[in-house]
C-alpha cells in the first residue's frame, strides 16, 4: 500500500506553511533520511526528511504553494514492487477524510473550535518546539482517537491557555475540584517556565531565606570578584618534612593539644609574609597599605557559611600557640560566639580544603585583604629525585593575589619562600 507523506508541523503552533521546494522528482528513489522537500513557516525553513524508503510516486502539492495545512497529504510514496497505478487509487481515496483536521496542532485562537474534550490538545513537546521529522510520512490510516480514559480534567480556559503555551496538560497538576486544571495552575506552570510534572512539582525548588551571614558572604565575595583583579599562582611543595615535624611535635602531646598540618601551614605563611612583606599588603584606593603586622585569617566552615577568625601577630607566635589559638577560634566560630575583634583585621587569609580531599583550588580574596592562600591535601604523589620517580607527600599551594597590589613576580617570590619553608620547616627558626 502506498504511503502518504503529510505536511509536517514544525512547531506546536504551526497550522500551515509554505512548501518551498521539492528536492526529489516524481519517480525518484527515496531512502530514509533523504531530504525530500523544504518547508517554510513564518519563522524558519526546515528540511523534510523521508522516513520510509520507496519511490516518490506522485507530488500533490507543487513547489511554492503557500498556506498548506498541517497534516494535509503533500505526496505519495510507493514501495518496491508496488504498482505505480496504486498511487491513483490511494489519492482517489483521499477525499475529505484523508486530510483530517490537524489533530496534533493546538488551536491558535479562541475563534476556532476548541479541541475535542476527549483529546489532550497539545500532543507536541511541552517546550522547545522541535520539528518532528518522524511525522513526515505515516501510513494512510485514519486518525486514531485518543484511548478512552486519557481525558485530563481541565477548564476550557486552562485547556486553551495550555494549547497556546504549548504545555502538556497531562503534566500539570490541577488544583480545582476533582483535580481540575484551572487558570491558576497554568499561570503557575508558565511562571515556573514550563509544565512541571507531578514529580517535579513535588521536587520544586525550595526557597531558603538568607541568613545575615549568607548576605554578608554574598556581598563580600561579589565585591571581591567584581572589584579585585585576581591572579593565581600555583606551586607544589613536598610535605614530607612538615608531616615529620608534626609527628614529632605531637608525639608527646595529648590529643586535644595536637598540632595540625594547617597550623604549620599558617605558621609558614606568616613567616613568608614577614619575609616578603609586599604580599602582606592591600589596596587602599589611591595608595597601597603595607601592613607592618602579620595577622593571618583562617577560613572556618560552619553549617551555613564561612568565617575567617584571625590569629594576631601570627609570625611571632610559636606553633603550639598558633594551634591552641586556632582550635579555640574554631570552637567559638562553630558555637556562634566569635567576637568582631576576633574576625576583623586580618592581613592575609589561609583556606585549607585538604581535609576534604581537595588537591588544589583557587580561593576568592577576602576584602580588604590583598591575598589568600589555598591549601590542598598533602597526599602521596610521584616526584622525581635524581632522575628517579618516587612517591612522596606533596601539597599544592595556590596564591590568589590582588594584582593592583601584588605583581606576578612578587607573588612568585613569596610562593617560593613559602614552599621553601614548608619543604624545610627548620628554616622557620632562622
Amino acid at each position: 500500500m502506498p504511503t502518504l507523506i503529510r505536511m509536517p508541523a514544525l512547531s506546536p503552533t504551526m497550522t500551515e506553511g509554505t512548501l518551498a521546494r521539492w528536492l526529489k522528482n516524481e519517480g525518484d528513489g527515496v531512502e530514509p533520511g533523504d531530504v525530500i522537500a523544504e518547508i517554510e513557516t513564518d519563522k524558519a525553513t526546515m528540511e523534510v526528511e523521508a522516513v520510509d524508503e520507496g519511490t516518490l510516486g506522485k507530488i500533490l502539492v507543487a513547489d511554492g504553494t503557500e498556506g498548506v495545512a498541517v497534516n494535509s497529504v503533500i505526496a505519495v510514496l510507493v514501495g518496491e514492487g508496488e504498482d505505480p497505478q496504486s498511487v491513483e487509487a490511494a489519492t482517489a481515496e483521499l477525499g475529505d477524510t484523508a486530510v483530517p483536521e490537524p489533530r496534533s496542532v493546538p488551536q491558535p485562537s479562541a475563534a476556532k473550535p476548541a479541541p475535542p474534550e476527549d483529546e489532550p490538545p497539545a500532543e507536541a513537546p511541552a517546550q522547545a518546539p522541535a520539528p518532528p521529522p518522524a511525522a513526515v510520512s505515516e501510513p494512510a490510516a485514519p486518525a486514531q482517537p485518543s484511548p478512552p480514559g486519557s481525558r485530563v480534567s481541565a477548564s476550557p480556559l486552562a485547556r486553551r491557555m495550555a494549547a497556546q503555551a504549548g504545555l502538556e496538560l497531562a503534566s500539570i497538576r490541577g488544583s480545582g475540584p476533582h483535580g481540575r486544571i484551572v487558570k491558576a495552575d497554568i499561570d503557575r506552570a508558565l511562571q515556573m517556565g514550563g509544565a512541571p510534572t507531578t514529580d517535579e512539582a513535588e521536587a520544586a525548588p525550595e526557597r531558603i531565606e538568607l541568613t545575615n551571614v549568607r548576605k554578608v558572604i554574598a556581598t563580600r565575595l561579589l565585591e571581591a570578584k567584581q572589584t579585585i583583579p585576581h591572579f593565581y599562582l600555583e606551586t607544589d611543595a613536598e610535605a614530607g618534612a612538615l608531616l615529620d615535624l608534626r609527628r614529632r611535635i605531637n608525639a608527646d602531646l595529648e590529643r586535644e593539644q595536637r598540632v595540625t598540618v594547617n597550623d604549620l601551614v599558617v605558621k609558614a605563611t606568616a613567616m613568608a609574609l614577614r619575609r616578603v612583606p609586599e604580599v602582606n599588603s592591600a589596596w587602599g584606593g589611591d595608595h597601597i597599605v603595607r601592613h607592618r603586622a602579620v595577622h593571618v585569617a583562617v577560613a572556618v566552615a560552619v553549617d551555613d557559611g564561612l568565617f575567617t577568625p584571625v590569629v594576631r601577630n601570627t609570625d611571632r607566635k610559636g606553633i603550639r600557640e598558633i594551634a591552641r589559638e586556632i582550635r579555640s577560634l574554631v570552637q567559638k566560630t562553630r558555637a556562634g560566639k566569635l567576637m568582631p575583634e576576633e574576625y576583623q583585621g586580618g592581613t592575609f587569609s589561609v583556606s585549607n580544603l585538604g581535609m576534604y580531599g581537595i588537591g588544589a583550588f583557587a580561593a576568592v580574596i577576602n576584602p580588604p585583604q590583598g591575598g589568600i592562600l589555598a591549601v590542598g591535601a598533602a597526599a602521596e604523589r610521584p616526584v622525581v629525585r635524581d632522575g628517579v620517580v618516587t612517591a612522596a607527600p606533596v601539597m599544592t599551594l595556590t596564591l590568589s593575589g590582588d594584582h593592583r597590589v601584588i605583581d606576578g613576580a612578587v607573588g612568585a617570590r613569596w610562593l617560593a619562600e613559602l614552599r621553601k619553608l614548608i619543604e624545610h620547616p627548620a628554616l622557620m627558626l632562622a
Binding site: 479562541a110 476548541a114 477548564s155 476550557p156 480556559l157 486552562a158 484551572v182 487558570k183
Partner: protein, 327 residues
C-alpha cells in the same frame, strides 16, 4: 440630576410621554381615582383626565384585551397590572395576542403596548402573590422584557418601552418602589436590550437584574474585602438578552454567577449559563453557576420565606466556588 424614588421615576416617565404623545394612555385597576394600588400614578388623573387615565373593572383578561385592540388601532396603551400575579388572567392576551400579532399579520399590525406592574417577591404575601415572572415572558418571541433596578433606569427604560413599536413587558419590583436614586433632568431615554456594567471587576462576573442587583452589589462589596474583585452586571433587559456585554465580561473574568429571585428550572439564569457555555466556552475557568429562588412555592411564614430567597451570603459563597477560593 435630581434624587427621586423609583415610584416617582415611573410616574414621571408616563406623565412625560403622555404630554409628548396624545396617543399614550394608562389603564388598570385603581390607577385613576386611587392613584395606583402602589401609588405609582399619582397626579395623572388630575393632569390628563379620565379619558386617558382609566380605572377598569377587576378583569385582567378584559382590560388587557382592550389595550391590545387599542394598540392595534394605533393608540399607545400602558396597561397596569396591580401585580404581575394577576396578569396570569391576561396571559393569553399578552402571549397570544400582543406578542404574535406583528408576526401573524405579516407585519401589517404593530402593537405598541406596555404591560407594567410590580413583579417578584414581596413580604409575606404567600405563594400566589410572591413570584417572579421574568422567565415566563422572556420565553416568548415577540415580547421585549425589561426589569429595571434603579430610578434612572426605571424612567429611561419605561420611556423607551412606551416609545417602542412592539409590546413590552415592564417588570417593576414592589420592594424597590421606595428606593431613591439620581435621575437625569429632562427627557431621559435608555436603550432597550442593553445590560450595564454597574461595577467593573476582574475575577468573577455577577449578573442580576431588578432587586437582585442590590444583593449582588452587597456580595461584591463583601467579596472585595476578601480579595475577590467582582464585576457586577445589571441585565436590565431579559429579552433580548445583551449577549455581547455578558460574553465580553466573561472573556475578562472567566467566571460567572447569575442571581435571580425566580425558580431555577428554565430560568433566566439557565439562559445566561447556556449562552456563556455555548459562546464563551474557551474563556471559562469554572462552570457557570446560578443562584436562584428555591424550587418551591413561596412560603408564607417569614422564616421560611427568607430561606426561599437568594441571599448575598449565598452569592458570596458561590462566587468563591467558581474562583476556587475559600470563602
Amino acid at each position: 440630576m435630581r434624587e427621586i424614588s423609583v415610584r416617582e421615576a415611573i410616574r414621571d416617565a408616563m406623565a412625560e410621554e403622555m404630554r409628548r404623545d396624545e396617543s399614550v394612555f394608562l389603564m388598570g385597576e385603581e390607577v385613576a381615582e386611587y392613584e395606583g394600588a402602589y401609588k405609582v400614578s399619582q397626579g395623572l388623573l388630575k393632569e390628563f383626565g379620565p379619558e386617558r387615565v382609566v380605572d377598569t373593572p377587576i378583569t385582567e383578561a378584559g382590560f388587557a384585551g382592550v389595550g391590545v385592540g387599542a394598540a392595534m388601532m394605533g393608540l399607545r396603551p400602558i396597561v397596569e397590572f396591580m401585580t404581575w400575579n394577576f396578569a396570569m388572567q391576561a396571559i393569553d392576551q399578552i402571549v397570544n395576542s400582543a406578542a404574535k400579532t406583528r408576526y401573524m399579520s405579516g407585519g401589517l399590525l404593530g402593537l405598541p403596548i406596555v404591560f407594567r406592574g410590580p413583579n417578584g417577591v414581596a413580604s409575606q404575601v404567600a405563594a400566589q402573590h410572591s413570584q417572579d415572572y421574568g422567565a415566563w415572558y422572556a420565553h416568548v418571541p415577540g415580547l421585549k422584557v425589561v426589569a429595571p433596578f434603579d430610578a434612572a433606569d426605571a424612567k429611561g427604560l419605561l420611556t423607551a418601552a412606551i416609545r417602542d413599536p412592539d409590546p413590552v413587558v415592564f417588570l417593576e419590583h414592589e420592594l424597590l418602589y421606595g428606593e431613591s436614586g439620581q435621575v437625569p433632568d429632562g427627557e431621559h431615554v435608555a436603550e432597550l436590550g442593553r445590560a450595564r456594567v454597574v461595577r467593573p471587576g476582574r475575577d468573577v462576573t455577577l449578573v442580576s437584574w431588578s432587586r437582585g442587583v442590590s444583593l449582588v452589589l452587597d456580595a461584591a462589596a463583601e467579596l472585595a474585602e476578601q480579595g475577590i474583585d467582582a464585576e457586577v452586571i445589571d441585565l436590565r433587559s431579559l429579552r433580548p438578552l445583551d449577549r455581547a456585554t455578558l460574553l465580553g465580561s466573561v472573556q475578562r473574568t472567566h467566571r460567572i454567577v447569575s442571581v435571580e429571585e425566580g425558580w431555577p428550572s428554565c430560568g433566566v439564569g439557565a439562559e445566561i449559563v447556556a449562552t456563556v457555555v455555548a459562546e464563551a466556552f474557551d474563556a471559562l475557568d469554572a462552570p457557570p453557576q446560578r443562584v436562584s429562588g428555591a424550587d418551591v412555592p413561596m412560603p408564607y411564614a417569614a422564616h421560611l420565606e427568607a430561606l426561599a430567597l437568594p441571599l448575598s451570603e449565598t452569592v458570596v459563597r458561590v462566587a468563591h466556588e467558581v474562583c476556587y477560593t475559600d470563602g
